[in-house]
Amino acid sequence: MKKGHIGRTILYIVMTIYALITLYPFLWALSASFEPLKVIVSGNMSLIPKAFTLDNYKYMFSSSALFPRWFLNSVIVSVLGTVINIFLNTMAGYALARLQFPGRERIYYAFLSLMMIPAQVLLIPNYLILMNLGMLDTYQSLILPSAINIGNIFMMRQFFLSFPKDVEEAASIDGLSRVQVFFRIVFPLARPSIATQAIFTFMGFWNNFMQPMLYITTPSKYTLTLGLQSFTNQQAGVRWDHTMAASIISILPIVILYIIFNKFFLQGIRMDNEK
């Protein structure tokens, strides 16, 4: 018993040290967002702002009348994109892991191999495809090409590989069809992995910069990331004060979302059953 106590104390200490290492750059960015430029670049900024100022945030929020619009655009694209992704990726991942069909292995490797081409050479082909579909400068151009995510399909497949089979078997004995089993039983039980996928996907949409930059030209259709970037891109040296405020503004929604989703991450099948 005593040995366990010592072990756990050490564990707490290690975990706390790692937490500090992890937290430091984040806190640094947070605190920098409340400092004037001169203090940030001085190199001896402390984590508690010395020359506290809200100017950076005031600048960002007043930078454009379109700010609320950009926020809304980001919410629309990210929420819609994430919902579609969750369904399509989970279905595809489930099929690849749990269903028997001819060509399964070949399709799996075909999907995998598509991830291996570096994005740099696909930028212009993708631009031309969207142009020919008449989708440039629309929300669709941000959602449709990312309506699935092969990495997440792969992740869901791996999750389902170790997903307990007995649950599904019990359900199909109850007379549910395969599709019903998926939507009524498997989907809810896969909550932790779906929540993981959701946060990754949402983050992907929310932070996406390259695609909005290339596809969107009308300022009122900008996403938040693109809009903020257009005010931090400075010729006379990087304006770290504005950049830091912009990055805090743009990650705040994700942090809030993560706190909400945190609950789901820990709700596994077994835990539910045992309660």
Binding site: N132, Q229, Q234
Partner: protein
């Protein structure tokens, strides 16, 4: 196997679709009439915005032009110019007029995407000849300079005061500077602690070093575009930077963890820097640095520096060429440019504007303006960017003395030329 065949078929179909669609876009539209009434027409301009003042200056230009012509102006702000313009040009959706850095101009011109401009019509003779020359190929004009920036020596007054050195005692030539720097650095070390403040910040970048490397007939890039950094004349000039590093008083901004000269200077990490006029307002407003602007130093008996100019180019496939030309003429006309440069704090590309705006009354701006006379335009053929990438890659070890300058520049040449050969 049947499915595999189908997949091949569908791949083939999509390729065909992509290729034909891409090819379809090639038809250039030459339906534009020569009307001078632009009411109802739409002009797309492609720009980048360096700071708030430039944003304001651009808004003034747009509303002024819209009022004057009745046309509508749509602004596209580039954040990653190289990537975006290539996508736009490949898709035939490039703006009717766009910003063009002098270093990029030869490449655009070679691609045939620029419309030749009528020299008389755009008033070529009104501009500084060095700047219009930067947009001229084979005697034909393809761009009009909108403004210009030059380098000057920025000096931190407070630091000089603290160590008790008069600003007047700063040498006027690089040769003297090399001898003077160690003593000055020692005083800085004494006043601020060892290596806390460095005397001088310099850059390992052709955009800043080109004029030095070209001294005494140095030719970093051959006329056929090949890199020539390891030629004797260039190496001899490059030795200057090696000597500078050897004084122990000069650093690159990155070497002290800063992104650029202006940041290092503003943060109080260096006492002197050579920087463009864009830093002037930033130092004054954001960093509240107490500084003096001095002319660039001389090297081998000749003063030198760099000129960075941005011009307006007209898209060869534009459907509203008369309107596009009207825009270029409007924004580079005397009074409009005068208002623009006053708003943005940049330097005019026309001598008459410099005079009208009374820029010479401001001592600091006068230094920058005068630099036009002795500085080199940042431009050297279509391979400059490639050669510069390679230069930045290898120069550090040569300057630090880890390898000889010759072998460092030999590596840079080889790598740049391997890349250039692939483009041929």
């Amino acid at each position: 196997m049947k499915k595999f065949g189908k997949r091949l078929l569908s791949i083939g179909a999509t390729v065909a679709a992509v290729l034909t669609l891409a090819a379809c876009g090639n038809k250039s539209n030459s339906s534009s009439s020569d009307s001078t009434n632009f009411k109802g027409q739409n002009l797309k301009i492609g720009v980048w915005i360096g700071n708030d003042n430039e944003k304001k200056g651009m808004n003034d230009l747009i509303s002024g032009f819209e009022k004057k012509t009745g046309a509508k102006v749509t602004e596209k702000v580039y954040t990653d110019f190289n990537t975006q313009i290539q996508a736009d040009l490949a898709g035939h959706r490039a703006p009717d007029v766009w910003y063009m850095d002098s270093s990029m101009y030869p490449f655009f011109q070679k691609q045939g995407v620029l419309q030749e401009l009528n020299k008389k019509d755009v008033g070529e003779s009104n501009f500084y000849p060095a700047l219009t020359k930067a947009y001229t190929t084979d005697g034909k004009l393809y761009g009009v300079p909108k403004d210009t920036s030059t380098l000057a020596l920025y000096v931190n007054n407070d630091m000089f005061k603290k160590v008790g050195v008069s600003i007047d005692s700063i040498p006027k030539s690089y040769e003297d500077l090399l001898k003077w720097l160690p003593g000055f650095q020692a005083k800085l070390d004494k006043a601020y602690g060892k290596n806390k403040v460095k005397a001088w910040s310099y850059n390992q970048d052709l955009a800043r070093n080109l004029y030095i490397l070209e001294r005494n007939g140095g030719k970093p890039i051959k006329s056929n575009g090949d890199a020539n950094l390891s030629s004797d004349a260039v190496l001899k000039n490059l030795q200057l930077y090696k000597d500078l590093v050897a004084t122990g008083a000069a650093v690159t901004p990155k070497g002290i963890g800063q992104g650029d000269n202006g940041t290092a200077f503003g943060a109080g990490k260096v006492a002197m820097m050579e920087e463009g006029n864009w830093t002037y307002e930033v130092q004054k407003q954001q960093y509240k640095t107490n500084f003096t602007v001095l002319p660039m130093l001389s090297y081998e008996g000749k003063q030198g520096g760099m000129i960075f100019t941005v011009g307006w180019g007209e898209y060869a496939n534009s459907k509203v060429k008369p309107l596009a030309t009207a825009w270029i003429k409007y924004v580079t006309s005397k009074n409009v440019m005068k208002k623009y440069i006053t708003t943005t704090g940049t330097l005019p590309s026309r001598p008459d504007v410099a005079k009208a705006a009374d820029l010479t009354s401001d001592a600091s701006l006068k230094v920058h303006l005068d630099a036009n006379a002795y500085s080199t335009v940042w431009q050297d053929g279509t391979t400059l960017v490639t050669v510069n990438t390679s230069y930045q890659n290898f120069v550090a070890n040569g300057l630090a003395g880890k390898t000889t300058l010759k072998s460092a520049m030999k590596s840079a040449d080889d790598q740049a030329n391997a890349a250039i050969a692939k483009a041929k």
